[in-house]
């Protein structure tokens, strides 16, 4: 007898096929060769030429690039001599970029991901912070704050980030900042510090951070921004750094006005300085005080040296600390102060190591669970067809949920995976109901039996669905992943796979009956 599949079954198959396409892409990404550009430093030559993150590098100066290793080998073989202008030709999937550069291009690359599924921070590693302004802000004010923080992090050098305004059941608003990959240890200061920079002589302000007073900040150039010296003491190592900034004319005039009336002070070593220091304050706390040399008295100087220091338990960590502190100071000088005081209410930095082990464990748990369910189902029904069908439908549902996640670029985090588990568990339960109901001894048609099974399935769906709704908003959205994947999974189940499964069971029963 020829089996005629219903449209519900066809729909189910089509959705599975689409989900597979959505997960692997077309043509499948795992067949793609090359490396993926993750980050291109803003204002670098490569960036100006149009290379952006998301592109796939295939060739560099004629050398084929198939892996990150190929990439670093190629770069190392090209840049052998320092400070030499080199012609670099980067061929990507969409075009090629040719430019001359002295430095190794500031590009971060990675292997091309095998699937289009994006994992959350807790599996991939990175940092997540939730910050709350001290006062309640309007939506517009939150937007301004959001873009200021984005700008600050970008200026600092973090580009792979997302900043979102979130609100919770109580209507409170927060900023959720998520940063992928390695995170600077100073992240908490970088985001929560208001970053109010003031340079004062006595009680008078000479200049403040931001583009009003500061025209240029020297960064990433050893000629005008560097670690000066390091010392070792009993309590650890200390390093000092300095970098140049250029003031606006107005700020330079202020400097001249304030310094012209100052007296002279001669140090024991014979140094000739003015009798007041210039003090740098960050968020109203004194950071550094510098003596002003005599020849600057009354002068409209635009070049100013900013100094600071860092410390650590050994030389290496002291240098690192100084570099980070310098970068942070440069950032707030460039971006200026945030308009509000902020409080960090949550700060998580997650090691990528954790995720690697977790992925394996979750896969193992998933497989063993499916196997256990298969054994129980088979033990109950002693029927290969029905049992195999249940396993097939459940596995397909996982694929469909993952496909949707890949399609809408949902970040799969641990709560989301728990959500998939719940959806699949409910799916198995529903299928058991359908099989049992359709095999009952009652003297009605198979269609009637399936109808009453679907009544139970839909009723169970509705109750579970509505009970998950509040979770979508509770807890500042951190549990959205769980609520979302569960609801998606349940909805796909009740709309697509359950009707298809019921039809398949009906066809099997009808075939057996004839």
């Amino acid at each position: 007898m020829k089996i005629k599949l219903s449209w519900r079954i066809w729909l189910f198959f089509i959705v599975i096929a689409l989900a597979i396409l959505s997960i692997f892409g077309f043509p499948p990404t795992f067949l793609e060769k090359g490396v993926l550009v993750r980050e291109v430093a803003a204002n670098s030559t490569a960036y100006q030429q149009g290379l952006t993150s998301g592109q796939i590098i295939k060739e560099i100066n004629g050398q084929t690039i198939n892996s990150v290793e190929d990439y670093s080998n190629a770069i190392n073989s090209i840049f052998t001599l320092p400070n030499e202008s080199i012609k670099l030709s980067i061929t990507t999937k969409t075009g090629s970029y040719v430019f001359f550069t002295e430095q190794i291009p500031e590009i971060v690359v990675s292997e091309i991901p095998k699937t289009k599924i994006q994992t959350g921070l807790d599996l991939r590693g990175g940092a997540r912070a939730i910050i709350k302004p001290e006062i309640t802000l309007s939506e517009d004010e939150m937007d301004v704050l959001k873009s200021m923080i984005e700008n600050r992090l970008n200026v600092y050098g973090i580009t792979d980030l997302s900043v979102k305004i979130i609100s919770d059941l109580a209507g409170e608003k927060f900023l959720l900042i998520e940063i992928a990959g390695t995170t600077p240890s100073e992240l908490n200061k970088l985001i929560a510090e208001q970053g109010k920079f003031e340079a004062k002589i006595g009680n008078e302000t000479v200049f403040i951070g931001g583009n009003q007073d500061i025209e240029y900040v020297c960064r990433n150039d050893a000629n005008c921004a560097r670690i000066e010296s390091c010392t070792t003491t009993d309590s650890g190592d200390y390093c000092s750094y300095s970098f140049e900034i250029r003031l606006s004319e107005e700020a330079a005039k202020r400097h001249a006005n304030i310094t012209k009336d100052l007296g002279l002070n001669i140090t024991a070593g014979g140094g000739r300085y003015l009798d007041k220091t210039i003090d740098f304050y960050v968020d109203d706390k004194l950071a550094t005080s510098l003596m002003i040399s005599e020849n600057l008295k009354g002068r409209e100087t635009t070049q100013v040296q900013i100094q600071g220091s860092g410390s650590g338990t050994d030389r290496k960590s002291a240098i690192e600390d100084s570099e980070q502190s310098m970068k942070r100071l440069q950032t707030i000088l460039l971006t200026g102060s945030l308009p509000y005081k902020l409080e960090i209410v949550k700060l998580d930095t997650i090691s990528p190591m954790l995720g690697k082990d977790f992925n394996k464990l979750i896969l193992l748990t998933g497989l063993v669970s499916l196997l256990a369910v298969a054994i129980i189902i088979f033990a109950k029904y002693r029927n290969i067809k029905a049992s195999a069908l249940i396993m097939f439908t459940s596995t397909s549902e996982i694929i469909i949920i993952l496909g949707i996640a890949a399609l809408i670029k949902w970040n799969l985090d641990l709560p989301s995976i728990a959500g998939i588990l719940v959806a699949i568990g409910t799916g198995v339960d529903d299928q058991i109901v359908i099989v049992d109901e359709s095999s009952s001894q009652i003297q009605t048609s198979i269609r009637e039996k399936i109808k009453s099974a679907l009544f139970i399935v839909v009723a169970a769906f509705l109750t579970t669905f509505v009970s998950l709704l509040p979770l979508y908003w509770a807890g500042a959205g951190l549990l959205q992943g769980f609520a979302f994947t569960t609801m998606i999974g349940l909805t796909i189940g009740v709309l697509i796979s359950r009707p298809a499964f019921a039809d398949m069971i009906r066809i099997i029963k009808e075939k057996n009956a004839t």
């Binding site: 390695t182 949550k346 090691s351 641990l414 009970s467």
Partner: protein, 306 residues
Amino acid sequence: MEENQQKTERADKTFSQKFEVAYNKYYKLALIIPILILIASLFYLCSFSVKHGDLINKDITLTGGTSIQVESKADINELQKTLEAKFEEISIRQISNVITGEQVAFIIETSASSEEVIPVLEDYLGIKLTSENSTIEFTGPSLSDSFYNQLKFAILLSFIFMAIVVFLIFRSFAPSMAVIFSAFADIVVSIAIVDLLGIKLSTAGIVSFLMLIGYSVDTDILLTARVLKRREGEINTRIFDAFKTGITMTLTSLAVVIIGLFLTSSFSKVFSQVFTILAIGLVIDIMNTWCTNASFLKWYIGWRKK
């Protein structure tokens, strides 16, 4: 062979017949046991909240504090002593590989803020904690407080939503109340057991109670639909049929939950807590669905016939 089969069939029949007679006689008793357990749980929870100021023990995700997981080996007892001298509430747990049992990392939990703990820990370990070698989660007390209150509110809302939907589906007061009551009993008894076991609940733990609402109502709906909507068969047959289906559902769920618990317990506190609570809840649900709810429905159908 055939004779043997007939014999066992006969034996089966007499057993199920005996069971049915007993069930018809004692089903009201089956209603009493879960209710007694529920009352005992309610009493326990009352005294618990008087003693501890809250219904549950909360962990740092709900009280605020820091959890630091360091991917390296350390003498946990020694570290505990060092940290205890400096911080009030501190607990350290080792994480080991599921297969080899070897220590791969350790987790420190404390109510102190990350800024206070990290320097002390770095001093002790002699390494700098970076995002490469450690995972640090800090939750401020204000956020965790609002988390807790919102989650409580979310559970209440879920329950109300679920109740409304149940009423809309069955449009019959008493059976709907039985479903809702059974879900309520599941949650109350499970919370009591969780407290009794001394489990400190995290955000995820509270969410598992919400998951429990969904799971527990499924079997109740199955039972109620079979008993109320089907016209054929004796009431007992309908209940037994529903039981056969429902218990398979619960057993598959339990199997998954127990496997998950076994595999992830040494690794993830979040998952192991979720799985523990679901396992407790599912077992309690067997009792509340098939004793409480089933007996109630049987009694209700009998009363309606009169």
